[in-house]
Amino acid sequence: MNKFADKEYFRKPEDFRLISSTESKYTHVDAYEKVTGKAKYAGDFMAPNMLTAKVLHSPISRGRILSIDTSKAEALPGVKGVLTGKDFPIRITEDIEILCQGQVRMVGDPVVAVCAISEEIAEQALELIDVQYEEMPGVYDPWESIKDGAPDVQGYGYDNHNIGPTCHQQGSNDGKDIDEEFEKAAYVQHEDFKTHRIQHAPIEPHATFAEYDPEKDEWTVHQSTTMSFGDQFWLAHGFQKDVSHFHIIRPYVGGAFGSKSNWPYSEFIACEFARRTLRPVRFVQTREEEFQTMHGRHPFQIHIDTAFAEDGTILAKKADQIMDGGAYGVSHSQYAAVNLSVIWCAFPYKIDAIDFRSRRILTNTAEGGAMRGYTACQVQFAHDVNMQLAAERMGIDPIEFRKRSAMEPGYHSPAGLIVTSCSFKETLDDAAKFMRWEERKDKMGNGEGIGFAGTAFVSGTAAPVLNTPNQVQTNATVRVDLHGVVSLYSNCHDNGQGADTVMTAIVAEELGLNMNEVKLIQPSTFDSGYDSGAYGSRVTFLGGNAVRRAAVDAKRQILEVIGAKWGCEPHLLDIIDHNIICRDMGKTDLKMSWAEAVYATMLTHGGDEVVGVGSYYHRTNNAQYQGKPSNYAPSYVFSTGACHLFVDQETGQIDIDEFFFAHDCGRALNKRAVEAQLEGSIYSGLGYAVYEELKINDKGRMMNPNFRDYRMITALDMPHITTKFDYAPDPEGPFGAKECGEGTTAPIAPAVANAIHNATGLMIHELPLDPEHIWRLLKEQGLQKDHK
């Protein structure tokens, strides 16, 4: 069944047994394995004759490789192989070399790889390698980088002045002219914002366990990935073979947050060593490698011009945004960064005239990439604080101000976005109510503040990354055996968010079975259908819709047979608690057990097994990448974050008393899981807002690529959290569900910034809001005692 499935067979909300149940009726399908230590992650795979691979990285940010002497390393007993750039002549995604071939472009660039019989020998071998560089001046600031005469960051000879992908989108509704809108505005505001660099830092580092079968010329790769078909595609490209040679198995993944939707050098190196040695090869990245080479969140610099009408509604907005892309990413995978960062400017408000431009600039620093709320955390921080400042200057209550321009169901943005379900205003009201805003807003002392922020996100990114027929993003199969046991073949990537659980629940719900009667086939690129990966908040919406259709396809086949036997319309039948029931008036006492019905169906079909197939897509074209209007996702979600805090006016340290989060995610498929995602989002957003920052020195070197000085929030630092998420079901989402857990990181930083502003009167234009930054602002701006 495809997108246009016969929805008559879909389970009706009044019959939901598992979905959105108020009690925790279903738990993680991987629960037992995860609490007992049995769950295997990629780095847990081992074999008796396994080799360990390691990489030597560039210590400089830009330079030519003059010579590489690996002779001593090769002579070390136990070393089984050494690789350099010349062993990987192919570039991945246009500008990435597996091992540098003549030039290094950032500190941490991989230069030489070794493999040995033990980790110890591999590390000793690295120390015996002598690489001579001719150091060249690098550039570390995006504005410097685009100046005439700036160093060519990559040295490939592209005539791009270090400017990578650019997206410029202009448009209006009802023939409005943006300049005229600005002219007639009651208030025009110009603001500049700046954000910093952070890292996903999943506790599980990237790991590869690769084996090679020379008879089949086939690799089996256990990879910590959230995009296994991408790994397969790029490995095939790297080895100049077709994808049939690469069997990518996704074991448990220990968190990703965007970092595992890539194809790290480590997997190519492990695969090449496995091919050369015919032995299993393990490559587990070190924490320093994670920080330096696994592309964290882009730093942004954002200029916003906004035109407001007398009543505070937005007439028009212009934004010019540049992001520090680091040393790589001129290709399509980074188009998403500029494209999405333009979309976020259009959210979550009705803005009928827009002019947004984003550019991704190369510098000799660590590459930036997708991270939980791809560019949304940066852009929506700026654009929401922009709203807060405008509200205040126009003398309108910040909740009321946001509501006046808030998107509503049915709104078409000139950016091409079509809003379907939308409860943004309700989330604002709920946040104000929870914080007792009306009652408290004039009663807070100095140093005490409440801040709100409203943001939006996509529910199901359109692009399937690879070319697929009909732009299909997920293909799922549900197979029912003669005993009625159901197997689900789905590649919906679980990285901890619970995809395996929710997909199992969807099938169990549609077929009226218990969770443990649906067997999820542990996914791999050969075992089940294409799924483009866990990115862009697409898993539940797009994957869930595909899996649901596969289940309903199987269900329909069974109901058609039983319907014919009973002489009634098959769509009047359903499967409830292991029984086929009939809702045809006068025949409601008819009943048949699931097992019997499955057997009867097979008998009718000459013994064929019941197999349901499902696929789902949201079709767009690449128009958006050229700055033209396009509806990026099938649905959108809306959030309000609210924060009550106290600012220590001597130290600049904040103490968050309470955090409230209202999220319009349609119908929650699993309430505990949604709550957990929201709590995790607040954790992640607070880390970004206050605690985490990767610092780069004037030589392009990362100063704190470790957990000691990269401050990740501990259990003692988390504030008390309350969440709310019961809003209108989405018409297209599976069972009415929408995105949760990615875009939900976006409103945290602006809510904290707005609360600090409320507490102190400080104008905040830059992240992070660590104590020293606030202290500096207090010194520069002074405490605005009468700001209230």
């Binding site: 130290t651 704190n704 000691r708 660590d770």
Partner: protein
Amino acid sequence: MVLPKFEYLAPTTLDEAMQLYNELGSGAKIMAGGTDIIPPMRDKAPGSKCDFLIDIKHVPGLDYIEYDEKQGLKIGCLTKLYDIQTSKLVREKNPAVAQAAKYVASTQIRHKGTMVGNICNASPSCDTAPILISCGAVAKVHGRDADRDLPLGEFFKGVKKTNLEPGEIVTGLVIPPLAEDECAAYIKFSVRKAMDLAIVGVAAWLKMDGKKVVDARITLGAVAITPVRAYNAEKALIGNEISDELLQKVGVAAMSDCKPISDVRASAEYRHDMVRVFTKRAIMKALEGYKEGEI
């Protein structure tokens, strides 16, 4: 990542440990909990390498917390930070010491690491040193030829350097008792509430006569190459009655007592000002005292 090669030795008597340490010379290191030895060694940090690691945790009689009215609190070199933090005796006799122990790293580290190890590591941001210095604590040093008492105020020489002679082992700490009219506190200022290194740490020990400060010892951590006494602050404090104005003055005076650096955790400028803030707060905390169950 693999640790560099070394030989692990586990003596079971102090004499045996001393003999090994003196025979093996500068290539040998003494280890108790090892939490400040193993991770830097793996990172190949400067000064972390050694040929012999002498683990003294099997030496009996060095894991104790005792109190005697005259000498005060006695803590063995194998006594773990967690045990100090949770000790009823320490919390009762000198809660600031328990608090300082609790500030170190994480629960896991404190279950393995020792207070003596924490000071012997001689990190400028060492969490337990300022309060020990302010309280006038003494390290019991066991040497090949003689034992000696080394006041904590004279213990530190530089970053990761102490004034221990080659072959000397610290077997314990003695922290003088707090008299009725004396009080002490330590405050660590860091961005995170755990797992973080201090931006500044300030310990205050005061001898009071009503509202008047009779004597004071203020020690600053993380703002110089070693923990340092804030003599100017002490001078401003001694002989005066506590007031908001006095505390402001003392805080400013403390700023002239330190030479902070800028690093990835904070700028020198910020540290300087935080010395001012936390000197005041440490003094106030000492006067206020620790409540039951606070630590």
